[in-house]
């Protein structure tokens, strides 16, 4: 074989510098035109400038493509710009939300807020007084109790759909899907009607937890069904061929095999309900003091705490509300990252 050199890889389909010149010219022109429009028209401010920029860039790129090729290309350019803009609009809100939560919540954040409640402090008092201990404990309670109720029901539902597959399976799957669309306030109204009106109980964390359980069951059921469907059927067959009964095959082979996925399903459910507000407003009462009894008496939770402070509206109360939001977001993001971490780890097993 001759020692001819191998040619270097090139991408002849990319744009050369000469071909890109019109685009660069167009970009500069867009900026100049936008400045001009903003300077001479009532459109002012950052938003005004951005909006003008977008519209002008649509026109300019359309013109360039139209001149360079044809009408179809012009349409293509317009749509490309708009689609890029759509992509941007999706990212912007999140950036803004995270930034503002951090900026506004940090002022009230201190170690002290995790050790005191608002029993003796008014919402309007300076930020170094009082805290959200009662809210944190409340959230803990309701999440725990909701999990205790919803996880067995959710997993039993998914077992029914994957193991027993009775004639009602299609109907049940349909109803679980329907249940995931229940507005959270309806769940709250229902628990209020049953637990408080019909059975005559008072506000409590337990009532709030039941409302959350209703919202949590569909998430747990649907995710665990997906997980169980992934277990290869020959594991089940091997267990049965060994002479196992159905329940032992499920308990000893299938559920352990699906372990990490099921845990993910549970955490997904928790993250779904941890931030819910509306049902709590109807069932918990919104106490200011720490209530260690989840089954009796007014209780609060973090979303409720935020709500109360927001409703008051004074400067310090609003600052407290933002701090509460910051704590809530940290909790939700924690669970979110946990599910991601577990899901990625599962892939390696």
């Amino acid at each position: 074989m001759s020692t001819a050199t191998i040619p270097r890889p090139t991408k002849p389909w990319g744009l050369s510098f000469r071909q890109s010149i019109p685009d660069l010219v167009g970009a500069v022109a867009t900026l100049l035109i936008s400045f001009a429009i903003v300077g001479y028209s009532p459109l002012k401010g950052k938003l005004g400038f951005v909006a003008t920029l977008l519209i002008v860039s649509i026109f300019v790129s359309a013109m360039i493509s139209g001149v360079r090729r044809d009408r179809k290309a012009a349409l293509n350019s317009i749509s490309t710009v708009m689609i890029y803009v759509a992509g941007l609009f999706v990212i912007l809100p999140l950036v803004s939300i995270l930034y503002e939560i951090g900026r506004r919540g940090i002022t009230g954040l201190s170690w002290g807020i995790f050790t005191t409640d608002m029993a003796v402090t008014s919402s309007d008092a300076p930020l170094d007084e009082g805290g959200l201990l009662h809210a944190v404990v409340g959230t803990l309670y309701i999440v725990l109790i909701a999990t205790v109720f919803s996880v067995p029901i959710g997993i039993l539902t998914s077992l029914y759909l994957t193991e027993i597959k009775g004639r009602a399976a299609g109907t049940i799957r349909f109803f679980v899907q329907a249940m995931s669309g229940i507005p959270s306030i309806v769940a709250g109204l229902f628990i209020y009607a049953v637990w408080m009106i019909a059975l005559g109980n008072q506000y409590s964390a337990f009532a709030g937890a039941m409302a959350l359980a209703i919202l949590m069951i569909p998430t747990v059921a649907r995710t665990s069904e997906e997980v169980l469907k992934l277990i290869p059927s020959d594991l089940r067959e091997a267990g049965l061929a060994l002479g196992g009964t159905q329940w032992r095959t499920v308990a000893m082979i299938i559920l352990p095999a699906a372990q990490s996925g099921l845990i993910t399903a549970v955490i997904l459910g928790i993250a779904r309900v941890a931030g819910e507000t509306a049902p709590l407003l109807l069932t918990m009462g919104g106490a200011d003091a720490l209530n260690l009894n989840p089954f009796n008496g007014n209780s609060s939770a973090i979303p409720f705490y935020v709500w109360k402070n927001f409703s008051l509206g004074t400067e310090n109360a609003v600052a407290r509300a933002w701090t509460g939001v910051l704590v809530l977001m940290l909790i939700v993001l924690f669970f979110f990252s946990l599910t991601r971490f577990l899901a990625n780890r599962k892939g390696r097993v």
């Binding site: 009532p42 938003l47 179809k72 349409l75 293509n76 490309t80 689609i83 803009v85 759509a86 992509g87 999706v90 809100p93 999140l94 939300i97 503002e100 029901i153 039993l156 029914y160 759909l161 027993i164 597959k165 009602a168 399976a169 049940i172 109803f175 899907q177 329907a178 669309g181 507005p183 959270s184 306030i185 309806v186 229902f190 009607a193 049953v194 009106i197 019909a198 069951i217 569909p218 998430t219 649907r222 992934l230 059927s233 067959e237 009964t245 159905q246 329940w247 941890a274 931030g275 819910e276 507000t277 407003l281 109807l282 935020v306 709500w307 927001f310 939001v325 809530l328 939700v332 899901a343």
Partner: protein
Amino acid sequence: MRGFGINFTTRSPSRNHLSAHFILGNSSITHVSTAAPTLPPKRVITTKPRFSDKVFRAVVTTGGFSSLVILGLISLFLLYNGLNVFKSEGLKFITGFDWIVPQPDAGVPAQYGIGAMLWGTIVIGLIALFFGFPISVGAALFLSYYAPEWLKKPMVLVIDVMAAIPSIVFGLWGYFILMPHAEYWAKIIHKYLGFIPIFDMPAPVFTRSPFIAGLVLAIMIIPIITSITREIFAQTPLDRIQAAYALGATKWSMIKAVVIPYGRGGVIGGAMLGLGRAIGETVAVYTVLNIVFDIRIEVLLSAGGSVASMIVNKFGEANPDELKALMASGFVLFLVTLLINFLANFIINRTARES
């Protein structure tokens, strides 16, 4: 569903009928009249499940039926509690737009009508779709066909995080950060397009209007619609796409010719799911909307309402009589959301099956 976009490797709506399955209990396989006279009849196979398995099946079946039971109970209790109100108001409950708490001393009878709230719910839902739907579809197209590889994963992460943000966070953010900007834009819209009735303003109060509520809801439903739309676009058959390119199509004409017609049904289903979420949203709407029992078409004005936020608004001070009316409202909201979700899932499942 509101989730974190955990994608498991298979996600098929169809059911695999040939996978292993228990036929324990006295199941019977029906006798078939044999075509060829020499074939023996099929045997009836019975098994006697062990007691432990019987218990297992009973427990699992009970758990499985619980969602049906819960949905049924919800309908039952709300209907029962609101029944008197339905009976006394009749159809006017839905169409009337006065909400008068009875004051027996002053001789004022009760009058409950959620017509204005239903109207408001629809209006803000439509506004939410108006802004949210194009952005979602655009973002889905961006992720599927335009985005560079390094951008895809972070952006999907962003969308999933947005889906996880609690609604009260949106409420606060909407009130403090979005509303000032939205007011500014509302003023501009009114200034230049005020001749159109819906942009007219009987009084110059721009805060807490259906417009702003719709904007907040739009941002909240973008993650759902984008996720579903992306999944649908991902199912577009590759050979059709390549055929379009081979015929000389630009990216946009390819999308118009192949992707959108193929995914139309599913995308609409996704939009309906988003709408369903918007309709049921309570707290985020409550913070940015001023509840007024009146049917208006001026969306920029600080007056509107939605059924969900009204319930929260009135709950605190409601006497037992008014509570029944709130239960009735909840029942109506429940039915409407259920209907929209049924329809949306039906459309999505049907298009998935056809493809």
